[in-house]
Amino acid sequence: MNPRLLPYILILPVTLFLCLFFLYPFVLVAQQAFSNGSGFTLTNFRDVTEHWKFPISLKNTFLLALAVVPIQLALSLLMATMVTKMKKGRDLILYIWTIPLGISDLAAGIIWLAIFEQSGFLNSMMGGLGLIDSPTNFLSYQSPVMVFVAIMLAEIWRATAIMLVILVAGIGLIPKEYYEAGEVFGATPWQRFLKITLPMLRPSLQTALVLRVILAFEVFAVVQALGGTLFPVLMGETYAYQFELLNGGAAAAIALIILAISITFTLIIMRALRVPKGATI
C-alpha cells in the first residue's frame, strides 16, 4: 500500500462518521430553514425574528452569557492559579472541583431548583434561622432578578470546571523559570500574573473561552428547570418551535441563528487572543 495514503485511510472512518451524522443533518437543517416546501425563502427567518419573544430571548441569552462567562473566566483563573500553587492534595481538590462536570445540565438545574423553590433548602434554612416568617417563592414572575441570579449561580456552578481543567493544563505547561525571571526582575505576584501567566496562557484561554461561550449560547436545560417560561432563551425557542408548535422550518432557522452567533464570537475570541506573529508560546 502507498504509505502516503495511510494517513488519509486512517482518518477516513472519523470523516465518514462526521459527514453522515453531522454534515448531512446540518445540510438538511439548512435546507429546512431556507425553504418552505417549494423553493428558497427567508420566510422562516422573518417569522422567527418578528415574533415578540425573539428579541427577549436574544437579549436574555446575551445577558446571561455576559453575566456568566466573565465571572467564570475570573473564577477559573483564580482556581487554576491556586491549584497550581498547591504542593499536596492537588489532584483531590481538582477532582472535587470538577464534580459538577459529571452532572447533566438538567440535573444541575434541578439541584438548584431544590435550593430556590418555595419548599426548598434556602427557604427552610432562612425559616429555621428566623429570618423569614413564611416561605417565599423566589422563582416567580414577580422577582425576575432572583430568577436571573439563580440561573447565573447554577450555570457558574455547573460549567466553570470545564474552563478550570483547560487552564490548569495550560498553566502547567508554563516553565517555572519564567516566573523566577519575573520575580528576580521585580515583577510582583500580580504583575507576574498579568505579564507572564496571562499572555503565555493565551492558547488555553482561547480554547476555554470558545468552548464556554458556545455552550453559553446553547444554554437550555438549566434555564428550563429554574425559569421555565419566565426567562425565554434562544435554545428554548428552538425547542418550542420544534416540539410545541411543530414548526421544523422555524426551529431550523433559530438553530442557524445560534450557530451564526457562535461562529461570530469564536472568531472574535480567536482574534482578540491571537499570538503575535513570530512569537511562539
Binding site: 519564567y178 528576580v184 515583577a187 503575535p276 511562539t280 508560546i281
Partner: protein, 347 residues
Amino acid sequence: MAVIEIKNVAKRFGDYQALHDINLTIEDQEFMVLLGASGCGKSTLLRIICGLETASEGEVWIGGKRVDHLQPKDRGIAMVFQNYAVFPHLTVFENIGFGLRMQKMGNDEVKRRVERTAGLMHIEQLLDRYSGELSGGQRQRVAVARALAMEPDVILMDEPLSNLDALLRMEMRAELKGVLAESNTTAIYVTHDQVEAMSMADRISVMHEGKIVQAASPIEVYRNPAAEFVAGFIGNPPMNFLEATSHGGGKFSVAGHSFDGPDAANSNLQFAIRPEDMTLSEDGFPAVAKVVEPLGAHLLVTCELDGKLFRAILDSEMQVKPGQTLKLAPMPDRIRWFDPSTTLAVA
C-alpha cells in the same frame, strides 16, 4: 558596586542537607565562580543569594546591607538563567526592558538603556524579533542584556553557557568576561565546567557535598589544591596520586623512591603530581605505558605505576609505544602532599 558576604549559610531540604555552614566574602567587582559537580549545592547557594530560595540558617549581606529577608527585586541583583528564560511572548526589546518596565521607568530611559545594552551584546538589529526567531546564542545574549540593563550591583549567572555548542561557548566566554569587566559589577557565576571557571574567574570556589572546599585564584586552585577532592577535580586529566610511606623526619618512600616531604608529618601521606609536571630522567619512576593518546599539542600517556594508573603529559614529538617502560621524574617544586585521614593538603 557591592561586596557580598555569606555568613554561616546552611540549607536543608527535608532530611537532605544541601549546604553546610557556608562562609564566603566576594569582593566588590570580583568575578567569582562557584565550581562543582552537579548536586554539590552551587546552584542552591546562588539561588539563596538571589532570593529564589531561603536559607535554613545564616545571613546574606550585599553592599553592607543584610538582604536575606528581602525580595529578589530589592537586593540590587540581576540574574542570567540556564535556560535563558527569555519571554517568548515579548520582543527582544521588551525582554531586555522587562525589569525596567517593572520599575515603572520612563519610556525614554527604557529605550536608552535597552539600546545601550543591546549594543554591548551586539543584538541591536534583533530588537523587534521574538525569542522563537532567535538562535540559542542570540537568546543567551538577550538574557545577559536583560540583566545588564538593570545596572545591578551584582550579576548572578547559573550555568549560562551550558546550552551552547562548544565553539559558541568559547566565544561567549571571552565576550562575557569583557562585558562584565566593563560594567563594574560584582559577578557570581555557577558552572560545572572547569575550563570556563579557570578562564573567567578572578577567584574560584570549589564546592563539594554542600561545602566550599577551596576559594582561591584559578592558578592557586590549580597549583596548590587545598584538598584531594580539588586535586582530583581540577585539571584534565587530574593530579596523579601515589602512596607515600613515612620514615620519620620528613622522609618518605614513594614507589621505591625516596622523597623529602613535609617535616612535621610522621604518618603516611598521599604524594600528588600533575601529569604535565614530569620530566624523563634515568632516576625517575619506572612506569609501563598502557595507553598512548596523541592529542596534537601533546601526548597523553596512561601508565601503570605502583599498581595504580599514572598519567603523564609528554611532548608530542616523543615516540612512545604501549608496553614501553618510561622513566618519569616528578619536578621537585611541583610535588604536593595530602593527609589521607583529613584529605587536606599538608605543606
